[in-house]
Amino acid sequence: MVEITNLYFTYSKRNKLFENLNLTLSEGHIYGLLGKNGTGKTTLLSLVSGLLFPAQGKIDVSGKNPEKRQVDFLQELFLVSEEFYVPNVSPKKYAALYSFFYPRFDEEQYHFYLKEFDVDPDHPMHKMSMGQRKKAYISFALACNTRLLLMDEPTNGMDIPSKSQFRKLIASLATENRCIVISTHQVRDLENLIDTIVVLENHQIIFNQSVDAISEKLSFVSYNGTNATEQFLYEEIGALGGKGIAANQSNNPSRVDMELLFNGIISKKDKISGLFTTNI
């Protein structure tokens, strides 16, 4: 669905952001786009959406070039930005104004989502708290039923019950012909939803693997006291014990600890990537 080849992008001449970046995203998946601050997660989503243009290289979204911002491209894409503007109208009025751009928008679904998120459809959005406004905006985004859904830190500002509600909605939306990309620092919030982990670091995609592959190749171990037996590829030692990533020698697929994995990839990239022969 999304094909990025040899992408170069820079905001200033001295600081290149992307250098020969390649990435393929397919339908039927929920991607977790992970990276430290300033590695370009938001920029990458903006490039895919046609809000920014590559310096060099190609971005293809279902056969279309985002730069051209064609109608049939835009109506199948929704980018949920971390910071967003909404006019001072009620969620109901908002949909009346903007749903026109999205042929697959479903009004009934929209009101169902608002209800699930406990958002009043008739309350002016500027009078809502940040969290409520975000939930109204996300309800709209999800009800647009676009084939490509990009979300930048969607759970930021959400309270605990809303996060759980959000996960339920995403689980209900993930279908075989839809591609969902979620950029996040709150991996724990979305750990069980993400099926492919994409890590952005050092101007490139340094890791792109399915959770299934990861759980077969790696195991995530936590221990009390000191570790004497395990040979860890990456280890974090705490006051009373620690945890680490080891090669999975057994036939039992492990549960993936995404936070630990992320830290491991950032600091021991070669050791961990080395176990995966087909890093895309």
């Binding site: 689980a171 209900s172 993930a174 279908t175 069980n192 939803l193 299934d212 195991s219 171990v221 697929p253």
Partner: protein, 120 residues
Amino acid sequence: MQFTESQAIYLQIVKIIEEKILRKEWTEEERIPSVRDLAVAMEVNPNTVVRTYEILQQKEVIYNKRGIGYFVSEKAYSIVKDEWKKNFKEQNLPEFFKNISLLDFSMDEISLLYKQYNKQ
């Protein structure tokens, strides 16, 4: 849903379902939730539940009626019980016996405690 064990999540869901069958919460020939409904309830990726159902189908614990959904098989209870018994014998009992002998429990004491447990 909080997944705590070190096993992959789709395997943890297999266990959750098998336990429901052992407790007879889900009985033979009963229709079970669709992939999507279970994914929503557990807040997991639908692909995870697809894998769970594949494994349960391989074990013949559930089966798929095309176009209708997934059902608990006729033999589900005995299949699950046999497997869990085998695992219990191989994995849990040795640990249990080790502790009994380490702590000098007599079989009479254990038997009394087990009776008390069953009364609760």
